[in-house]
């Protein structure tokens, strides 16, 4: 019964979305005065119904109801409960239901809380949100019904891909979806404002919290996904330029640009058309991301669907939404008033540079991700684009972007002088020179890009604190703190990336129990290999003793074999120190009783994710600051 109730709730929610779209369209007509009051309640009801549908799916997974096809295919009665729970969205249908649920709930939140914007613009926004939702409801109901029954029910389920049986999975996909959906909300605001010709600072202030929230979730999702790949895949890498990773990076890049341009619009009334365009681009990127991941066009751990109809369906949705948005943009962009002007050397100027560089990086990543697909469709040639391309093309742009980021917040709005900037940035520049010299002295053989990265990280870290300099910390607005913390986070993350690239030490050996291996400053002894067992796996566990001069500690990497579905995985063991991580992987034995050991010493690698967390924290501080300030009457002097 639960499955039928879930399906009914989903159909009802879809019907309400259709109603919301029609009521919204009717309300925008000149004579639409009477229906205008009905749009908000419908949006709230739609949110509640889709949430109910998703909760029922979770209930089915927790109870392991094998008569439901999705659960038989993806779950197993012996699975730990956390993975039954997370399994609800660890598959194609469930994750699409999560997508549409978050979308509907976000629409409901706008309907309940948005009071600043003109009512007509809110209604137009909700209608746009309903139009986006409808596509996904149709996709779920016609091509990926999560509640489909199976008759007869199988005695046992297939289980979940062991690589996905990890606490990180429980939170990684929802985090990214919140980000995608937050961007779609921002897009709906842009469509709403274009429809009612209401593009101005008030619109930017209404849209900003959504962009900020989406951006926070994307930052967290990317950071968590990177760490997940780092420890779960057992390769010691933290970013692989896999299309699925790019699918989350591209919306982040666009959202970062949008976040900064929307601030110019909210604060200074400038960059109006550009901000609208970025909202369209950011939404397109999250649709492209969804398409890449959900269509099964890529073969990887993330691609659950291998059904070409689904890919086509998402592709059509993608074309409709992006095409529609671009047409609307083309028709209405000229009606948007010009904003306030500014000089090239000014805060606005730096933000324009930030936006251009981010767009360029986005272009590079987009081309690298889609080119192999396009080439294969066009000529049938197979080609893969990997780290060498992305590092060569995006790396220098990223360094330029970070340099802009260091200088931008030290500039005044509207007009400033280069001489003043140089005075304000002198201290960070000196620090950069000192860092550069110090590194060259300590590590003469370092490559250029890591050296530049470390140097720039030091300067950026110092410069990011500039806006807080000589200010009373308690009277500094929270969003200024947020900006400083987020920019500091970028510097910290950059330092981690550069250090990892420059100073990682790797050892690969075949060792007999009792043998000792050296990696970086560590001596690691393989003392024994023992069999161990978990709830749904067995493993061979290497017992390692590691030491660096002082006291020794033990590490236990495992080679695991899962029973359902039968799969081998390796579980790396990672020891975190203040100055880096020791990363150990054990392979299979050879005929002579030797075990393959792969060991890495990665100095300061943890800074990569610590920086990501700081960036997200900065976003959260800004968001709290923005929401607390509510309706700012005066022009804000700073931003985040």
């Amino acid at each position: 019964m639960i499955a039928e109730a879930g399906l009914a709730a989903l159909w009802l929610a879809a019907a309400l979305a259709l109603l919301q779209l029609f009521l919204g369209a009717a309300a925008l007509r000149p004579e639409g005065g009477q229906v205008i009051a009905s749009v908000r309640p419908v949006a709230v009801a739609q949110g509640l119904l889709s949430a109910l549908s998703f909760l029922l799916l979770i209930q089915l997974f927790l109870a392991t109801d094998l008569s439901v096809k999705l659960i038989a295919a993806n779950s197993h009665s012996m699975k730990p409960w956390l993975y039954k729970f997370a399994g609800a969205w660890g598959n194609h249908e469930g994750s699409m239901l999560l997508w549409v649920t978050v979308l509907a709930v976000a629409g409901a939140a706008v309907a309940l809380f948005e009071r600043r914007l003109a009512e007509r613009t809110v209604i137009a926004t909700l209608a746009a949100q309903a139009a986006i939702g409808l596509g996904f409801y149709a996709f779920l109901l016609f091509a990926s019904n999560p509640f489909e029954r199976l008759n007869p029910a199988p005695p046992e389920g297939n289980g979940l891909n062991p690589l996905l049986q990890d606490p990180g999975l429980a939170f990684h996909p929802p985090t990214l979806y919140f980000g995608y959906v937050g961007i779609s909300m921002a897009f709906s605001f842009a469509v709403g404002a274009l429809l009612t010709r209401d593009v101005g600072p008030t619109f930017a202030r209404a849209m900003r919290p959504w962009v900020l929230a989406a951006w926070i979730f994307l930052t967290l999702g990317i950071t968590a996904g990177s760490y997940w790949a780092y420890y779960e895949l057992g390769w010691g890498g933290w970013w692989f330029w896999d299309p699925v990773e790019n699918a989350s990076l591209m919306p982040w890049l666009a959202a970062t640009a949008l976040l900064h341009s929307v601030t110019v619009l909210a604060t200074r009334g400038g960059l109006r058309v550009w901000t609208l365009m970025l909202a369209v681009v950011a939404f397109s990127m999250s649709m492209v991301g969804t398409f890449l991941v959900r269509s099964g066009i890529l073969t990887s751990v993330h691609a659950f669907a291998v059904d070409p109809r689904r890919g086509l369906f998402i592709l059509i949705l993608l074309g409709l939404y992006i095409g529609g948005a671009l047409v609307l943009f083309a028709l209405r962009a000229h009606t948007v008033k010009e904003g306030t002007t500014f000089e090239a050397v000014s805060r606005e100027g730096a933000l324009v540079a930030n936006n251009l560089l981010l767009s360029a990086i986005l272009g590079v990543v987009l081309v690298g991700t889609l080119y192999p697909l396009g080439l294969e469709v066009a000529t049938g040639d197979k080609l893969s684009v990997g780290a060498p391309y992305f590092n060569a093309a995006a790396g220098p742009l990223a360094l330029a972007l970070i340099a802009t980021m260091a200088a931008g917040p030290l500039l005044r709005w509207r007009r400033d002088s280069l001489a003043a900037l140089v005075r304000r940035i002198a201290l960070p520049l000196l620090l950069m020179a000192a860092t550069c010299l110090l590194i060259l002295l300590l590590a003469p053989g370092i490559r250029v890009l890591p050296l530049l990265g470390l140097t720039l990280a030091a300067g950026t870290a110092a410069a990011s604190l500039g806006p807080l300099w000589r200010r009373n910390p308690r009277r500094t607005p929270l969003f200024t703190w947020g900006m400083a913390v987020a920019h500091l986070g970028i510097a910290v993350s950059l330092a981690g990336m550069a250090s990892e690239a420059a100073f990682t030490r790797e050892t690969l050996v075949a060792a007999r129990p009792g043998e000792t291996v050296e990696v970086g400053p560590y001596r690691v002894q393989l003392t024994a290999v023992e069999p161990v067992a978990g709830p749904n796996w067995t493993a061979l566990e290497g017992r390692l003793t590691a030491s660096r001069g002082g006291s020794a500690f033990s590490m236990t990497p495992q080679a695991r074999t899962f029973s359902s579905p039968p799969t081998d995985t390796s579980e790396a063991d990672i020891a975190t120190m203040l100055d880096g991580q020791l990363y150990t992987v054990i392979g299979r034995p050879d005929e002579q009783g030797r075990w393959q050991l792969r060991l890495w010493w990665k100095p300061f690698v943890t800074l990569i994710w610590l920086g990501g967390a700081l960036v997200a924290l900065g976003g959260i501080l800004s968001l709290i600051g923005r929401i607390r300030r509510g309706r700012p009457a005066k022009v804000e002097e700073s931003f985040a």
Binding site: N161, L233, G234, W235, F240, D242, L271, V273, W274, T299, S300, V301, E338, G339, T340, T341, F342, V352, N355, L356, L357, S359, A360, I361, L362, G363, V364, V367, G368, Y371, P372, D381, K382, L383, S384, V385, G386, P388, Y389, A392, A393, L397, L508, V509, A510, A559, P565, P566, T567, D568, T569, S570, V585, G587, D590, E591, Q592, R594, Q596, R598
Partner: protein, 144 residues
């Protein structure tokens, strides 16, 4: 500067940035993208010696040999034709690597035809098949 002129300038800058990015991307692609070869492609097109490439196919049954150092393995990759590629790899093979299953490797060909892999790609499930092989199987099936 008038607002209208500023908007035009910004638009041109944006276009230049995106165009620049695409040009940069295209030139980097020409240098850095690695083509994908199945054993049959090597026979047809000759050995690509000038840059790193990816190869893909099935690990032939009984072909995996472990070298004396314990960390180097050699195996043979085949496809639906008679063509094969001998591969050498130093490192821990991914969890899903086994005889009779699909594999994708990145590395360089030696002049003698040996493929020295720098990476064996692992991000796939146990049903994975290199897309090309799957594609050709599909073609073969639909021809029958």
């Amino acid at each position: 500067m008038k607002a209208k002129h500023q908007r035009l300038t910004l638009l041109l800058l944006a276009l230049a940035a995106v165009l620049g990015a695409v040009l940069l991307a295209m030139s980097a692609l020409r240098d850095q993208a690695s083509y994908f070869y199945a054993p049959a492609d090597v026979v047809r097109k000759g050995l690509p010696l000038d840059k790193p490439v990816r190869i893909g196919g099935m690990v032939e049954e009984g072909s995996v040999r472990h070298a004396g150092d314990g960390v180097t393995i050699e195996f043979v990759v085949g496809d639906e034709t008679d063509a094969t590629i001998p591969v050498r790899y130093r490192g821990i093979v991914p969890d899903l690597f086994k005889e009779g299953s699909g594999v994708v490797a990145e590395g360089r060909f030696q002049p003698g035809g040996l493929f020295v892999a720098t990476e064996i790609l692992a991000k796939h499930d146990e049903n994975y098949m290199p897309p090309k092989l799957a594609g050709e199987r599909h073609k073969a099936e639909s021809l029958q």
